[in-house]
Amino acid sequence: MDTLLALLTVFTQPQLFLLVGLGTFLGVYIGAIPGLSVTMAVSILISFTFSWDVYPAISLMVGIYMGGVYGGSRTAILLNIPGAPSAIATAMDGYPMAQRGEAGEAIGVTTVMSFFGGLVGIAVLALAAPFVAEFALTFQPRDYMLLAVLGILLVGSLSAGSLLKGIFAGALGIAIGAVGRDPLTFAERFTFDFQIMEGGISFIAVMIGMFGISEALLQLHHVGAEAMRQKIDRIVPSWSTVRKYLPLSLQTSSIGVIIGALPGTGGDIAALMAYDHAKRVTKKPTRPFGTGAMEGLVAPETANNAAVGGAFVPMMTLGIPGDAVTAIMIGALFIHGLNPGPMLMVDQPQMFWFIVGALLTANVFILICGLTGIKLFTKIVEMPRAVLIPLIMLLSVVGAYAVNNSVTDVYWMLGFGVFGYFMRHYGYPLGPVILGVILSRLLDDNWRRAIISEREDLGAFSAGIFGSPLSLTLLLVVVAIFVSQTPVYAMLKSRISKRAADQA
């Protein structure tokens, strides 16, 4: 009974309910603007809500978090500029849809599927948080390393056209991620003794430059062209459409929850993995992937919203942040006099249920905020390019500066923008670069941790992998995906089907 009351706190207090709504609304717009990140918004809110009670403060933060993760898809679909790293995969099929004049439909489906993904995440949080948290804790450095290797194999799905160019782009990304003082030993890497390189290259700056600036430069080619008229009569997807993608979204949501719950990986990796998964399991996509496949939109959007619920799992049960935003929320709980940790669930279970309730409310507000105001948003794409392009440039500069209040990041962003423009020109995909930057540290740090803990003994390291069911499973998945991308697999497949035909 107490549980139910705590869960319903948000609904019974109009003030809290409205704060969650306001947060979600703001979050959608903050998330939509590249560079204005949820992490930043939530950390500003800590000072802003300092004198408030803990419930209203948390309500607003939860709303912004949920809304922001969803909002990233908006600009990804409309402008090909992901508003947040977790929306990179969304742009790959979302933007081609907008180019066909189907932005309204794309946003509609994204909204409903984000809602669904969010729901799966919250359900797992509410029903299985302690189990999922214990499972997440069993991940050893070698498992994180294998996960990163698995991520790197996604280069294959993210490279439209030449795989070779995709691999080059991915390798470049990994190198960019390694620049700066190595956080484990403080040794300088690829800094060439420039002070400016010491802090590393902000990955958000790379992302904004590569997607924002390069897109704006590319659009300059058609500055006079008439903008595509958008059809906005079919926004809310029909029940049959939703039902069709339900099995896929259930799978991708599960990926989202698990990746979100692991401390050290978040919605960005979850969305990319989900995209890759969709590409593998979907036999007949609505259109080929990369040209506006609905499946390519559904997968990352369900996964990144499911990852929100996932990120709260270790935070609420163990006081361990699942990602950057939950890390800040832990700080907020401290400031408000709570002690987030393993005892929070025991001492103050009402806090847990209150957050579950707030997440549910925010999820519903996503549907409301998402399905209204689409008309206004699609107008953005219909704007004359002479207005749109400077606007993109401006937002990119502001966004890059805001990440760390550093002008250096703006220079990096502009540099990578111009570089990205030429990469696109010569058919190099940009997705793998960002993938490389995201995975660079995950791979590097965990490989070193894994091998150092085995006292640099490769034999003991391998024994560790083969001795643990989790590591072994991850290794087998890596091998299977790798083999499936080589000619060996095609050869085997045709031989098996031939044998089956012979027997028949």
Partner: protein, 330 residues
């Protein structure tokens, strides 16, 4: 022309002193050296609103991370010495010089308030076959290199506490690097590492819940939050040479800031640190509230720097000798 210039400079001077008198006339920037959600961030965001209230001004905080905090310090040192840019940092800068991470440390700045000090402790995985420092040292001696200890990079708390231990006892560990005590303590619970020296506040909740155990308290006094745990000096008396030692949080301004401004800021933060909410927050997390300024703060900073610099130097991972910077041996 000359009189005009003189008049102008006079105007500028009176303007300047007027500025100091009604400081603050504009928003004050607070640069937090570490990322959002970390302990420095939490402490600063908890105390600053109270200090701002006492000051009657507005302090806007932002996080500027990178280079173990050196980027934030360098930024503050590049601004005008007018008291409108505050550095909100942790202990790290005191090691910049010997580790070659930067040219300035807190002795090149003016302390506004050294707010609090943390107490380090050794925590271990629940399954570890040792329950005290004596047992731990015995085990480590019997199995050299087998114990995996989490570390947070040279100059970090773990490296210095381990340097104290290896200075006293002949032990060998495998050091697994993590970027922060949070991730390392997570790894400890998952069994990826066996032992971790960490600040009390970071591990206390895990200890209370029985997810990890304390094997040593690196202080000269027992701690109320850890009933039944003896201070390390009772097991390894040699530690008394370095203690009390611990990470700290403080607010600093650039050297050359007008004295009146420094005094106003010091008064404001001293007032802010008296706030019961802040004190409760700090005590819950096991931090010892100090709230010191002036010479007292300088002595504390100097003692931290000399103990840590020489430990690091003797352990062989300094880039430069403390002698180069006239850092006296403790």
């Amino acid at each position: 022309m000359k009189t005009f210039l003189a008049g102008l400079s006079l105007l500028a001077m009176t303007g300047g002193s007027a500025l100091a008198a009604d400081y603050p006339v504009k928003e004050i920037q607070g640069i937090i050296q570490w990322g959002a959600g970390g302990s420095t961030d939490t402490v600063m965001r908890a105390v600053t609103p109270h200090a701002a209230e006492a000051l009657g001004g507005n302090i806007v905080m932002q996080n500027k991370t990178g280079g173990v905090g050196a980027i934030a310090l360098r930024y503050v040192q590049q601004q005008d010495a007018d008291g409108y840019t505050l550095l909100m940092g942790a202990e790290n800068p005191q090691m910049y010089k010997v580790l070659g991470l930067g040219t300035d440390d807190y002795t090149d700045m003016v302390p506004i308030n050294v707010l609090a000090r943390g107490v380090p402790m050794f925590v271990a995985n629940n399954d570890a076959p040792y329950n005290s420092m004596t047992e731990f040292v015995e085990y480590a001696k019997a199995n050299p290199g087998e114990v995996r200890v989490g570390s947070t990079g040279p100059g970090g708390l773990t490296s210095i506490v381990l340097a104290m231990l290896t200075d006293q006892e002949d032990v060998e560990f495998t050091r697994v690097p993590y970027d922060g005590d949070g991730p390392a303590l997570t790894a400890l619970q998952g069994g990826a590492i066996d032992v971790m020296p960490a600040v009390l506040g970071a591990a206390i909740e895990g200890v209370k819940a029985g997810r990890m155990k304390v094997i040593g308290l690196v202080d000269t006094q027992p701690n109320d939050l850890l009933p039944g745990v003896v201070p390390i000096t009772e097991e390894i008396p040699g530690f008394a040479d370095y203690l009390p030692w611990g990470p700290f949080f403080g607010v600093f301004v650039k050297k050359g800031t007008p004295d009146e401004v420094v005094a106003e800021l010091q008064a404001a933060y001293a007032e802010g640190a008296k706030n019961p909410d802040f004190i409760e927050l700090m005590e819950d997390r096991g931090f010892i509230v100090m709230s010191i300024a002036g010479d007292e703060a300088m002595d504390f900073l100097e003692s931290y720097r000399s103990t840590s610099s020489w430990l690091v130097h003797d352990a062989g991972f300094s880039k430069k000798s403390p002698e180069e910077f006239d850092i006296p041996r403790p």
